[in-house]
């Protein structure tokens, strides 16, 4: 028997030209052009096998629905393929650096996922008898202890569902505290111009009007302006620290002193706690309330936009007003106080049904225990070191918004270095996509023109940071060298080219509807 030696070619042959033909089907190699489930699925198909019901619904009469609902079904292999194909069109922290400033995209340890899925945590009902969930309540108590110790604050409300919900909780506690003193004339919240959009939105949500505080040339709160705007009508100031320019508010203690002297409370937006965790305690800075995004600092996954968790630490002055439920412990074990009674008699109410984001509590505690006090301090130090390293490597070519002094966990650049190139911050960001990186936060904070806010986090190696800096420097060289097409048309190599957001907003299409000739009723 002899081998056929005219087999398939094993070396590249033919054209190696740089222009590639468009594919005929829309698919591109590993990237599939994937239809919607409404186009793929069957109206009479299901991917679950169920027994027939033992009894009918004749007892419900006219309450029973009769018309088609419009929910296609997929068999299991079809469903698996559909969602796996879609997944491949996403950037992810597990793929590469995700340097979104203010978002803290750090590695999400899988131990946390495993712990959250233990049936003793994931398969317990929020209203089971408390005697049957002592471990779950104890876990909440332990998480509370870690959060209070790390922030140097005496109390924490665990239930807020995300950062903005935490802001709401903090402002409601402040509102309740003023009310309790009969001080009902305070209708204003002061917010720096550089603040996250959630701050003014939350203040308005609680019925306050918002007054902006100016910023100094070195990117901090303008104390003179703050002092001028504080008065008997001010309920609170909301200041992010480190702030959204990536800078520590040097005068933070003076800020809190001024606020307190004017009878206002100091709400700190804790979105950037990752820069100082384990090294600086907000309680030492005069903070009255601060939310902690467990999905930022404490590594619970962002999941494409949530779920998050936003526990709020509170000062002695605000603690009595924390919302129900409260965790208390005593001789009989752990207890949830679920109403405005006993220890929680002055609670301002309830933020949500049940007890908050238990699944996130487990993940965050697993992360904290893994790092410990020593590791968490190192987290802050490495996060700050990484950001300063990026700033140092890029500042010769790109323009830091605040060149003087160190930054904290994120490095902020403006677009003055792009002047005359015809390339905008948006173009530059889209070109980064072609190089395999997720863009940094763009056009935020609003106080810096064409802002580019880069937050690497501590979970990047020096090798990755260098790869990232090398890519940005190469792109900067291309921009300054007049290679504008690379930027204007970008991205070229993403699953899609630049999307028409104006069209989406002008002709909103927010759900799938059957095209003529393929309508639902015919199925």
């Amino acid at each position: 028997m002899s081998m056929v030696n005219v087999g398939r070619p094993t070396r590249p042959e033919g054209s190696t030209t740089e222009t590639r033909p468009a594919t005929l089907t829309g698919g591109r190699g590993l990237l599939q052009d994937e239809a919607l489930i409404f186009e793929l699925g069957g109206w009479d198909k299901t991917g679950v096998d169920l027994p027939a019901p033992a009894l009918d619904a004749s007892d419900l009469g006219d309450l029973v629905r009769k018309d088609p609902i419009g929910l296609p079904g997929l068999s299991e292999p079809e469903a698996m393929r559909h969602f796996v194909r879609l997944s491949q069109k996403n950037h992810a922290i597990d793929l590469a650096l995700y340097p979104l400033g203010s978002c803290t995209m750090k590695h999400n340890p899988r131990l946390n996922e495993k712990m959250a899925r233990l049936p003793g945590f994931s398969d317990v009902h929020p209203l089971q008898p408390q005697s049957t969930v002592q471990g779950a309540i104890e876990l909440m108590d332990r998480l509370a202890h870690w959060l209070k110790t790390l922030t140097g604050m005496p109390a924490v409300a665990l239930s807020p569902k995300a950062g903005a919900n935490g802001e709401l909780c903090g402002l409601l506690a402040i509102h309740a505290a003023h009310d309790a003193k009969g001080d009902t004339a305070r209708r204003v919240v002061l917010v720096p111009t550089s603040a996250h959009g959630t701050n003014p939105a939350t203040a308005a949500f609680v019925g306050y009007s918002v007054r902006e505080i100016a910023q100094t040339e070195d990117g901090r709160v303008d104390l003179k302006d703050l002092e001028a705007k504080l008065g008997p009508d001010v309920a609170a100031i909301m200041v992010t620290n480190p702030n959204t320019c990536g800078l520590f508010e040097r005068d933070i203690m003076e800020i809190s002193r001024l606020a307190h002297a004017a009878g206002a409370y100091f709400y700190c937006d804790g979105a950037n706690f990752n820069a100082i965790v384990g090294r600086v305690r907000p309680g030492d800075l005069g903070v009255d309330a601060m939310h902690i995004n467990l999905h930022k600092t404490f590594s619970t996954p962002h999941g494409g936009g949530g779920p998050g968790a936003g526990p709020v630490v509170l000062s002695e002055a605000l603690a009595p007003f924390a919302p129900a439920p409260w965790v208390v412990s005593g001789a009989d074990g752990y207890k949830l106080v679920e109403f405005e009674e006993a220890e929680a008699a002055d609670a301002f109410g309830r933020m949500c049904a049940f007890h908050g984001q238990m699944g996130m509590y487990v993940r965050a505690l697993s992360y904290m225990m893994s790092h410990g006090a020593d590791g968490l301090k190192q987290v802050a130090e490495d996060a700050v070191l990484n950001a300063n390293y990026i700033k140092a490597r890029l500042q010769g070519v790109m323009s830091p918004a605040f060149p003087e002094g160190p930054c904290m966990h994120e490095a902020l650049f403006d677009d003055s270095w792009l002047e005359g190139t015809g390339v905008t911050t948006l173009d530059f960001a889209k070109a980064m996509i072609d190089e395999g990186f997720h863009p940094m936060t763009m056009y935020f904070p609003l106080v810096v023109h064409g802002a580019m806010l880069i937050e690497p986090t501590e979970t990047e190696s020096k090798f990755e940071l260098d790869r990232f800096c090398d890519a940005l420097l190469a792109l900067a060289g291309a921009a300054k060298g007049g290679d504008t097409e690379r930027f204007k048309g970008a991205p070229f190599y993403a699953p899609l080219r630049r999307l028409d957001e104006t069209r989406a907003a002008r002709q909103p299409k927010l759900r799938w509807t059957s095209e003529p000739g393929a309508n639902l009723a015919a199925e």
Binding site: G47, G70, A79, P119, G120, G135, T198, R279, N388, R511
Partner: protein
């Protein structure tokens, strides 16, 4: 430390590039009074094995729903979730991605959101749905604020069967902006009582079906009365599985639907994270809170999806936004969409029918126990019973006998005077053996 890639050598080299002598140089802006030497007073780092051991010990102190006959509901439900769901949501590209702010490299998340919005809109019978809220209770509160914006009125009437936690959450949000809430006292079957409370200042009525006692209500007449008075109708659904069997809120006249989506794709998780569903009539779209995903095209004309109508949102409109919500329940809505895609209409209808059938069996079993009276006239998968003694003590006694026998109403509202009322639920996971065990243990406890 296993999550930190930098070596001591890396750190030294990087400090050198920065031009700093030590890490402390980078923290110079921290006021001296707040600088600390050493670490905070917490345990040092721990290996994976140690953490696992410690947390597993805590988990072991809890009675998992799946380990005993289980009948709790009241806003959180134990359903069977196919293994595929948990596998897909743990894929790196879904689990570890951010909000899809760069649509060219987030089409996976965005297309799922578009599918999710369509599923929710179709299921609720509404025109548009958003990309999720935190949970059903916060969705309800936001719906009330939205109704007040739309009608420019300042009063919300809450139905007697609205879940007390939903009422509490709504009151927190509404009172903060000066919206008055009218509550009518908990009743098993009196959603229509809201009609008498509607006046010229009423922005909306909030009606739950099936309500917290399990009672299913046709809200058509309530909607007619509300609309006649210029008020909006918010229909709340805490058990979304019920929409596989019962009429959708849209067909009964709802303007806004606020629902808890946990039942599809999501575990009990001791109360969170869950996924709030928020749907409305098309004309209300621009007053909706939260993210919306819309269809568009890319530069080459290919279909793609983006977050849209964001001029409603906090990152653009700041203090003029429709809500302060930012992060929502992305991964939980993915779980919902996967599970719903697997079920399809056929599977959903079938699993809903099984839920209902099992609840009917449970009703027959419990009504045969001496002293137990079934209160709920029409139900999907949960109902209320009156016991001859306070329900809280009965539930504790049942737990000691290895049965998680429902939720005492007093756990939700101790002041309602309904201490003898117990809420019980059966789903597709409930077996005949579970029901028999519950029945015999309840008889023992009551005897």
């Amino acid at each position: 430390m296993r999550y930190l890639p930098l070596s001591a050598d890396d750190r030294a080299q990087m400090l050198d590039v920065i031009g700093a002598k030590s890490i402390d140089d980078l923290f110079v802006d921290v006021p001296a009074a707040a600088r600390r030497s050493g670490t905070v007073d917490l345990p040092a780092h721990a290996g994976e094995l140690e953490v696992e051991r410690e947390l597993a010990a805590l988990a072991a102190k809890n009675t998992a729903a799946g380990s005993v006959p289980f009948f709790c509901g009241a806003g959180a439900y134990k359903h069977h979730v196919p293994a595929t769901v948990d596998h897909i949501i743990q894929r790196s590209e879904f689990l570890t991605s951010y909000t899809p702010y760069q649509p060219e490299i987030a089409q996976g998340t965005l297309q799922v959101l578009f599918e999710f919005q369509t599923q929710v809109a179709n299921l609720t019978g509404m025109d548009v749905a958003n990309a999720s809220m935190y949970d059903g209770s916060t969705a309800t509160g936001e719906a009330v604020l939205m109704a007040a914006r739309v009608t420019r009125r300042k009063k919300a009437v809450l139905s007697p069967g609205l879940h007390p936690h939903y009422a509490g959450t709504t009151e927190t949000l509404a009172h903060a902006v000066g919206i008055e809430t009218v509550t009518l006292g908990a009743k098993v079957d009196a959603e229509a009582d809201v009609i008498a409370a509607i006046d010229a200042d009423t922005a909306c009525v909030v009606v739950q079906t099936p309500n917290v006692f399990g009672t299913a209500t046709d809200v058509t007449k309530i909607a007619e009365a509300a609309h006649a008075a210029g008020a909006l109708v918010i229909v709340v659904v805490t058990e979304v599985m019920s929409l596989g069997l019962l009429k959708d809120p849209g067909s009964m006249g709802a303007d806004i639907v606020a629902a808890e989506g946990q039942s599809i794709g999501n575990a009990l998780n001791f109360g969170g994270p869950y996924v709030g569903l928020f749907a409305a009539k098309e004309k209300l779209t621009r007053q909706m809170p939260g993210r919306l995903c819309g269809e568009t095209v890319d530069a080459e004309g290919r279909r793609g999806f983006v977050l849209t109508l964001s001029t409603r949102e906090q990152h653009i409109r700041r203090d003029k936004a429709t809500s302060n919500i930012c992060t929502n329940s992305g991964l939980c809505s993915l779980a919902f969409t996967i599970h719903m895609s697997l079920l399809g209409e056929k599977g959903l209808r079938q699993v809903a029918a099984i839920n209902h059938a099992n609840a009917r069996k449970l009703k027959d079993a419990l009504s045969s126990v001496k002293g137990v009276e079934v209160l709920t006239p029409r139900f999907f998968n949960e109902f209320a019973v009156r016991l001859p003694k306070p329900a809280a003590g009965v539930v504790e006694a049942l737990a000691k006998k290895g049965v998680l026998g429902g939720v005492p109403f007093s756990r939700l509202d101790p002041k309602a005077g309904l201490d003898d009322v117990l809420l019980v639920t059966a789903t597709e996971v409930t077996t005949d053996a579970d029901i028999n065990e519950f029945k015999s243990k309840l008889a023992e406890v009551l005897s």
